[in-house]
């Protein structure tokens, strides 16, 4: 059989070291995620919500997560989020060294993805903003890149918001990937996409649901560099560290709450009386005697 160009190129480019491979995947996946995601937000803000409305921010980020997770699903697993990587470490599914590698390449990928998105909407940005780059306030446009909470939202609530939002992300990631829940792996990324959309519909009002330290921090640095300046960090009493830190705590707490309340309680196999009764129904796993 003659080899296709793909198989020939595979032999050239294939890398054996799985750590390098996984880092490449997390880098590439997070780059794509931010390239697309920041473009969605630019289309939302720069069109003054005439093209994208809030639902497209929700669904758009959701479909993006779906596709970027598919992309990395067979190599790094497609975390694309430092909080998710640390959570998997606490579950024993990622070595600690990899958590640090992953966080580094996720943040780097997020930065470069943001830069790409910026170039794509350069003309539109110039058309709408002119030369003005103000981070916050009535004419502030820092939200083109990252979260900038309204003055009436305290940093305490901001921390709670990111704890909760990232918590739900991590919790349902554990549900979906739990072998005992038994969802075919080809459906995981689709459900993650709808999960991201749901979080934006429920927990988007306080901060715009960053729920990902790399997604919030890297574009913040980029914005500071292109003219928004130090205010990207000093704003709201140095709020910027909250969406970096809170997600880690939220992800770990919520993931373990799932396992304690539900995950650890799922029987390893359905009890035999359930199998006998296949056509009858959908009975929940109780002792047969309870049904008498």
């Amino acid at each position: 059989m003659m080899d296709s160009p793909l198989e020939k190129a595979r032999r050239i480019f294939h890398i054996e070291n799985r750590t390098v491979v996984n880092c490449l995947s997390e880098f590439y996946g997070t780059l794509l995620l931010l390239f697309i995601g920041i473009s969605i937000v630019h289309q939302f803000d720069l069109s003054h919500k005439q093209l994208n409305t809030w639902i497209q921010v929700n669904l758009g980020w959701g479909f993006t997560i779906m596709l970027c997770v598919y992309t990395c699903s067979k190599t790094s697993g497609g975390h694309l989020n430092p909080a998710i990587s640390l959570m998997f470490y606490t579950l024993g599914k990622l070595p600690l060294s990899h958590v640090f590698y992953y966080i580094a390449v996720q943040t780097l990928g997020a930065f470069i993805g943001t830069a790409f998105a910026y170039t794509l909407y350069l003309d539109q940005t110039h058309h709408v903003l002119g030369d003005v780059r103000i981070a916050s306030g009535p004419n502030g446009t820092g939200t083109l890149f990252t979260s900038m909470p309204a003055p009436h939202v305290s940093n305490t609530i901001a921390f709670w918001d990111q704890f909760v939002g990232t918590g739900f992300l991590a919790l349902f990631v554990c549900v979906v990937t739990d072998k005992r829940i038994d969802i075919p792996s080809s459906l995981h990324a689709i459900i993650f996409g709808l999960l991201i959309a749901m979080i934006g519909m429920a927990f988007g009002m306080n901060l715009g649901y960053p729920i990902n330290p790399a997604r919030d921090f890297a574009p913040r640095v980029f914005a500071a560099m292109i003219g928004y300046g130090w205010e990207m960090f000093s704003y709201h009493n140095y709020y910027f560290w909250i969406p970096i830190l809170a997600p880690f705590f939220g992800a770990i707490a919520a993931a373990w709450s799932y396992f304690i309340f539900v995950g650890f309680q799922i029987p390893d196999q359905p009890p035999s009386y359930m199998k006998e009764n296949k056509t009858d129904g959908d009975g929940i796993p109780l002792k047969t005697t309870d049904l008498a």
Copy 2:
């Protein structure tokens, strides 16, 4: 093989008693459902429909149901709704004692989930409402928590509305979980999510489709406790008992209508003449002679 942290923790936290396990799951699932769902409604109302519009209330609750049902699918079954639990009892799939346990923990979970959602939007609530907590009327905000029908909707129609809305929920739950309809169980929760969205698009105008006694009652109690007061119950001639009672009747009537009209009529196996003809088509199950 070395055990992962998860497997070690499983041995510590695993509970043998299935009744306790199922109650824990229903409690946890309904808590998550209301935590997310009440947050969706707060984002809708507090942003004056600038962030969430009605479609996000529909899809957001739908995706939430999807994820919460997945969460409990292998333990309690993920009813998350007293009317659904009673309906399953009438089908012989849940012991009567469990109906009472489930209703208790569902209501408790709904209450605590509401309280969590309230804390998340505390600053936003204060910003929009100040210190005013009025249940109904032009400045009423009781709908942040529960259903408050417009004056021109009678309690008779309200009862019919909840009978119908919960009826469709129960009916299609029976369709989707019917072994003879043969939908893979990993798709059930996704379809339930779209079902919830559909109900909000068709039966949301009268009352905002509570279709779940726990979802309506628990947040009503919570709202009464945080300052909305007795009017949460006395409003609209003591309307509050309607979304508690009507769903039970609707769920049972509609579920059985499905089985009588369709479910009982599905043949146990496709007749043999259908199997012979695999590549030809999608023929409906008729007697072969009819096709002559």
Copy 3:
């Protein structure tokens, strides 16, 4: 094994005659379809597009079709549409006698479903319309029930519109159910739902995409009976027969166009050279020599 209440009731209610069973299913499925669908339109019109917007009309009808088709998928096949039934007759998948039975019960089901929806929004209708029931014109509300074309849309275009809209419905129904396209049957109804939504986004502007003789005619009769009167039929130069007749022609023409252009050309089995090459790729079925 003790029998569940469901299995006991099954023995009582089970009907042997498949023709009766299939007619019951088509009746029940179309009743549900119109009950939900007409409610969606009422919520859209009576809220002056404040609750439902056009996308909810699209997605709502789509999810409704999905669920109603699932309901009838193992008995009648879930046509729920006279044009689809006739189309299946021309493909040899439904006996002619059944086409007549199906059309009768579909129309009857659609009528009763409309009546149910009407009762649900009785208070809202009275609140918005008072006692005025005008079929067409600036204050016309006949569109609560059925299609009423704007004056600037000619009946010729109306015919073409229904030919095309129902044509696309039938065409893609043939694609999805084609055994050679090989889509798992549990996904069919989901895809039909998205198909209906798509038709509303592409072909909804002229007439509001009835694309179903029973869905258009039965509510028209109902509206005429509750006070809209004869104008429901005489309007627009007796337009009413167009969405009855055109769908039959469109469905048959489009279905056969699919088979001639594509369906008949699908090879019965993938050629062997494709199977050898599984990991390499997604090659289209060409002669191997073409690839040299």
Copy 4:
């Protein structure tokens, strides 16, 4: 066994030559795509965004792609886009001769599909536009058919926009169809649909995401012929060649970037230590020793 009408007709219409068959499919699929897609845009523009809003343009085109790809999935593969066909050539999955055949029939199909859509909205077009056909400017309606960039978007950015938009399309087509990513083929078209929607939410603001030379060029020719004239080509310094040329470069570059960063790095089979550990989890493919 008696043959159905379908099987009889199959024997008459079946064509043996796979090149002819594949060209017929690409022609038919692209015709359907543009018939539906141009209708979506007409409904959006002619209703002044009262019926379709931007999200329906996104989802509508997405669902259309889904259905048209399903239609051609077992014959030509359902490229429906010259840039995708050329990309598959560079991957060794389509002979070069076929690229030219495909581009020809895709463009022809796109032209005829546009003409069909035009007839469907003839009355609406006349009602809204009267006899005025102006390609660009404040009263320009060339966007009913094809992309017409705003004056403040430079042709350089336009090229980059089409490079990127088509690039993401091609990249994720490679992900989804990669055998090593292992997504069941019956889900491919659904994911492509969501992919198209995502591109419209992220990369729709500059040009309206044509991302398909046939989709942009054929309607442009049609518009020029029905009265919009030469300005369809001369506008914006002969912009029209950009959405023809840029997609080819973007598709090839992005597809190969996927393979280099991720695709070539996916191991042929999951390593054995992953298989041992099925119930434990979702571990990423690392060396076992790393987990110590």
